[in-house]
Amino acid sequence: MEIKHVKLPLDYEKIIALKAGDRVLLTGYLYTARDAAHKRLKESLEKNETLPFDLSGQTLYYVGPAPAKPGYVVGPAGPTTSYRMDPYTPALLDHGLKGMIGKGIRNQTVIDAIIRNQCVYFAAVGGAAALISKTIKSKELIDYEDLGTEAIFKLYVEEFPVVVVIDAFGNNLYQ
C-alpha cells in the first residue's frame, strides 16, 4: 500500500485528498492536548478568551508523554483514547482545528463536526509510544504548565506514522 506524506499544518486541499484507510507520515508542527487541557480550551472559548495558540489549520495530538530521559527530546509518547475528548472536540473543530491524532472511537457529534468543518481524524498505534517518540524532534511548552504531562506542548514531528480513520466525508475505518 502506498504511504502518503503530509506536511502540517493542514489545509483544505491536503484534507480532501485523504481517505479513510490511508497510511500517512506526518511532518511539521502539532500541539498536544488531552483531558484537562481540552476542558480548559473549551472553557476559554465559552468565555471568549484568547487561546494559548491559534487553532486554524492545526492538528492536536492526544498524548501525555512520559518524562524524557537525559539526552532525549521527549519520553515515550503514544496516543491516548480519544472518546474522552469527545465532549470538547466539536467546539474546537468549529473554531478552526483541522486534524486530530488519537486512538479509538469518536461519537456521532464529533463525526458530524468533522464533516461540517472538513477535518480529519487520524489514529496512531496505541502503545507504540517508544517508536513514536523517535519521530518527535522538538518539544516546546506552550501553556497550562501546572497540568504537568497534560500541559500543551508544541512538537515538531518527522514522518509520524498514522492511519486516516475518519475522513472529511465521514468515511470511518472502524465501521
Binding site: 518524562p67 472511537i105 498505534v125 496505541g126 507504540a128 513514536i132 523517535k134 506514522p161 492511519v163
Partner: protein, 281 residues
C-alpha cells in the same frame, strides 16, 4: 520463623516496576511475530510490525514501551512463617513504587481524589496493594503497571445461574466488541467468574498475571478459553482496531466457588503492552 526486612521488599518493588515497563519479554514478542505472519491485511501487519519494533526499542534503550506506565498494582503472597522487620510494609511498597517512577522516567498518572481533587500526587502512589497469606517462609511479589486505556474498557456483570456458560460467553465477547479499538488491541482478556461482586473483579485482574502461553490448569476452563479466543478473534477488530485476525492474544479465566443464586462475571482487559513482573524473596 524467617525475618525479612521490608527494605528488601521496597528494592524488589522498584526493580519489578522498571522491568515490567521496559521489557515485554521474548515470549510476547514471538507471539506478536506469529500474529503478524497470520495476518493477511497489510494494515494489520503494519500495525503489528510497529508494536514489535516499539517493544524492541523499549527493551534496548530501557525506556517505557508505553507512555501510560499505569497505576501500580501489587500482589503480595506472604509465607506465614515470615516475620517482617523494618518500616511498615505499606510504606515500603509505596516508597519502592515512587523510586521506580522517578528513577525510570516513568509517567506519574495518579490523582489525589477521583472527584474533588484531580491533582497529580507526583510520585504515582498510592499503589493498589493486595495481601494474601500462604504456607512457608517466602514472599511472592507480583506487580502490574496497569494503563487506563484498557482498564476503562473493563466491565462486570452479575449474571444469573440460568445464564450459564452461554450467557457468560456472550457477556465476555460483547464486552470486547464494545471496547473495539479503544483498549489497544491485540488485547489479553482476563476473566473472573464466581465468588462475589468484588471477588470476580479481583480474579479478573489476577488472570492478567499469567504468562502469555499459560492456559487454565482446569481442562474445562482451558477449553472455554480457547473457544472465547476464537469467538473474539472472529469479531475482526484487529490490531489497533484497524481490522484483522488478531484482536486478542489470550483469554485467561480464573474461577472461584460462588453462591447458589449467583454467577458474577468480570472482564478485565489488558492491552498488548502486557506488563507484569514477579519475584520470590
Amino acid at each position: 520463623m524467617r525475618e525479612i526486612n521490608t527494605l528488601l521488599i521496597k528494592d524488589a518493588i522498584t526493580e519489578l516496576f522498571l522491568k515490567a515497563n521496559f521489557s515485554i519479554g521474548e515470549k510476547m514478542i514471538q507471539r506478536l511475530e506469529i500474529a503478524k505472519q497470520q495476518e493477511t491485511s497489510e494494515t494489520a501487519k503494519y500495525v503489528l510490525e510497529q508494536i514489535i519494533e516499539n517493544d524492541r526499542i523499549a527493551e534496548r534503550e530501557q525506556i517505557p514501551m508505553c507512555q501510560d506506565t499505569g497505576l501500580a498494582i501489587v500482589f503480595l503472597e506472604i509465607g506465614q512463617e515470615v516475620f517482617l522487620t523494618g518500616q511498615s510494609i505499606n510504606e515500603a511498597i509505596n516508597e519502592g513504587v515512587a523510586e521506580a517512577y522517578e528513577k525510570g522516567f516513568l509517567r506519574k498518572s495518579v490523582v489525589i481524589d477521583p472527584l474533588f481533587n484531580r491533582i497529580n500526587t507526583k510520585n504515582n502512589t498510592p499503589a493498589i496493594i493486595y495481601y494474601d497469606y500462604i504456607n512457608g517462609d517466602k514472599i511472592k511479589i507480583n506487580v502490574l503497571p496497569k494503563g487506563a486505556g484498557s482498564e476503562n474498557m473493563s466491565q462486570i456483570k452479575m449474571l444469573t445461574p440460568a445464564d450459564g456458560i452461554e450467557g457468560m460467553k456472550r457477556f465476555v465477547v460483547e464486552c470486547v466488541r464494545q471496547a473495539g479499538p479503544n483498549p489497544c488491541p491485540p488485547i489479553i482478556v482476563g476473566v473472573g467468574v464466581g465468588g462475589s461482586f468484588e471477588k470476580a473483579a479481583l480474579l479478573s485482574k489476577k488472570a492478567l498475571m499469567r504468562e502469555i502461553d499459560e492456559t487454565s490448569h482446569y481442562p474445562q476452563y482451558a477449553e472455554l478459553e480457547k473457544e472465547l479466543l476464537q469467538e473474539i478473534n472472529n469479531l475482526n477488530i484487529g490490531p489497533a482496531g484497524l481490522k484483522g485476525k488478531t484482536t486478542c492474544l489470550s483469554v485467561n479465566i480464573e474461577a472461584y466457588p460462588t453462591h447458589i443464586a449467583a454467577l458474577p462475571v468480570a472482564v478485565n482487559i489488558g492491552c498488548h503492552a502486557y506488563r507484569h513482573a514477579a519475584i520470590e524473596i
